[in-house]
């Protein structure tokens, strides 16, 4: 406004001023442009530098994982050969444990490479199984059972595979150190279809993985053994049922008066327990009134259900909740169940019940019940463990007494016995044990002594003791 007034009063000054302001405006604009250009350049250079540093950092991390992998695999190959040559039990056990460690490390490094999931799946499996199986043979050797011919032959065949893997990895290693490929490209390849071979890579990971598809099936005492993948549901009884019959048994289970509407969502053909998958709208509720459930095609049993709803303030104590869960199970034909453990989170108690008979707790026959602690409603049920394992068993009578078993437990004075229990091993078998419970460093632990041999089968530590409580 001031400028305009100057122009009106004096024309001459005005002209000068105009030029003056124009110059100033131009200079200003010039300065701003220069500043912006400078800033953009600095910013660009900075970002480029940063991106480059990050890229290098990432490539180095991948390189490290890969070079270590090559070393571990080479050690696996050597140790596999070594286990076949050792004869004394002491050295055999040491070698097998070392082999297991090297194979685990290799598997761990392999999973850090930026190759799409599934591309190295067979290779990963090979390494995991070598690690797992050598642990199993080591355990067996400790028990005084020497390696069988069959196990020797398996190790020999695994050694051939490890040689092949070592060779392929060394080829890749050469390419990597010659700069023939970088991890950026591998990561990109993984995003697309990795069965297509990139021209840039002389030997892709997929072709490495392919050589493991002919791996022999390995059966041994370990969690990664092949027999763990294909188990039958021993406790699933009854005839095939139709969808309507399944809805009928769902009505009995949840209470027909509580159900407003049932929709079948899908047929779940998993090959272990084939089920109908249902969505149930509950009656007389306003919101969050959906229950999801699976009913088995064989026998029409409810395998699990979940009812997720907001839970209000706790009004029910855990003893009441346990009684509610027990009654829920009894009413549905699951007699002789005993609560063994519970976990309390977000106002819900998830209680584990195990089957009991003649004073023996059958831990594999497990059912979990979720009780909402605001009104005692059962909001979840899971009986897969029960249906997989529950069967009439012919258990041999214990060969050692509880006193004898207790004498084998270290620091026995802090421990109380809780009788006989059938426990599952992590490779699908069951062992009859004496169960002892104790506390160490504020943590609950369980010791299991084999009722037949007196061997210490398992020591379990219960983690998360702030949420979870053993109830025996």
């Amino acid at each position: 406004m001031g400028e305009n007034r100057v122009i009106e009063n004096d024309g001459k000054v005005c002209q000068d001023k105009e030029t003056y302001y124009r110059t100033i405006n131009w200079n200003k604009a010039k300065n701003v442009i220069i500043a912006i250009l400078l800033l953009t350049t600095i910013f660009g250079a900075y970002q480029y530098d940063r991106a480059n540093k990050l890229k290098n950092h990432l490539n180095n991390t991948y390189n490290r994982a890969f070079y270590e992998l090559v070393d571990y695999v080479s050690n696996v190959e050597i140790m596999l050969l070594k286990t076949m040559m050792t004869s004394s039990p002491e050295l055999t056990v040491t070698t097998l444990r070392e082999l297991s460690q090297e194979a685990y490390n290799a598997a761990s490094n392999l999973s850090q490479l930026p190759v799409s999931v599934g591309a190295l799946s067979n290779t990963e499996k090979f390494l995991s199984q070598v690690a797992d199986m050598s642990q199993s043979i080591a355990r067996q050797t400790v028990r005084g059972v020497p390696m069988s011919d069959e196990q020797y032959n398996t190790l020999a065949s695994l050694h051939k595979f490890s040689l092949e893997l070592e060779k392929s990895l060394n080829e890749l290693k050469n390419d990597l150190s010659n700069g023939n490929f970088s991890w950026d490209n591998v990561a990109k390849e993984g995003e697309e279809d990795f069965s297509q071979t990139s021209e840039e890579m002389p030997k892709t990971f997929s072709s490495i993985d392919q050589s493991f598809s002919e791996m022999p099936t390995l059966i041994y005492d370990g969690p990664f053994s092949e027999h763990m993948q294909n188990r039958n549901a021993l406790g699933l009884t009854g005839q095939q049922v139709s969808e309507n019959q399944a809805i009928e048994s769902l009505g009995k289970f949840l209470g027909k008066d509580k159900i407003n509407n049932v929709t079948k969502l899908s047929d779940n053909k998993n090959g272990i327990i084939d089920t109908y998958n249902f969505k149930i709208e509950l009656a007389g509720k306003k919101e969050h009134s959906v229950v999801e459930a699976d009913v088995s095609m064989k026998g029409g049993h409810v395998i699990w259900y979940l009812y997720n709803r907001p839970v209000g303030d706790t009004t029910i104590d855990i003893d009441k909740a346990k009684a509610i869960g027990l009654k829920f199970l009894e009413d549905r034909g699951y007699k002789n169940m005993k609560d063994t453990y519970y976990l309390e989170t977000n106002g819900i108690a998830t209680i584990n019940y195990a089957y009991t008979k003649d004073g023996i707790t059958y831990y594999p026959d497990l059912i979990k019940v979720k009780v909402a602690l605001d009104n005692g409603e059962v909001v979840g049920f899971e009986a897969k463990g029960y249906f997989m394992n529950h069967t009439e068993r012919n258990l041999a009578a214990p060969k050692i007494s509880q006193q004898e078993a207790r004498a084998k437990v270290i620091r026995g004075e802090s421990i109380k016995a809780s009788g006989l229990a059938l426990i599952p091993t992590d490779y699908g078998t069951e062992i009859l044990c004496y169960e002892f419970i104790g506390k160490l460093e504020e943590k609950d632990f369980l010791v299991y002594i084999n009722a037949e041999t007196g061997a210490e089968e398992e020591v379990l530590l219960i983690l998360n003791t702030d949420d979870g409580v053993l109830t025996m």
């Binding site: 930026p114 697309e192 998993n270 977000n346 998830t350 897969k384």
Partner: protein
Amino acid sequence: MKKYGRSFLAFLALLLISSFIFLPQKSMGAGTGRISDVQLLARAINGEARGEPYEGQVAVGAVILNRVKSPNFPNSIAGVIYQPGAFTAVSDGQINVPIDPNSTVVKAAQDALNGWDPTYGCLYYWNPATATSKWIWSRKIVVKIGKHNFGK
């Protein structure tokens, strides 16, 4: 000199502001304590199956836990979740954002950890509408839950 002084000041101010914006940001989010398995699993579920039915959220958690138990995958929850390229929620950084302990995905993670597995041991899932990998279709579909196919 004055005019240069002014633009110089403006330039300095811009530089200062920009350095605040563009400099690497330190300590984003909560860095305290150990992240529990539940929280890590919940974050993965949140990134992968936020809009899915509750069962679908539990199922994604179960797939992660099934991978831990499988010889074909890493042997820990963190190992499986952070396997390069395994989950988009990890690639885009969602996995590092803390989740409210009362949210639904935390409950779903808890149920998965407690043994609910609507997939009966599946190791893969994919959204048939957006899946780009041709290979994933070679997996046998075991069950469809919400938008996802689950396979072994």
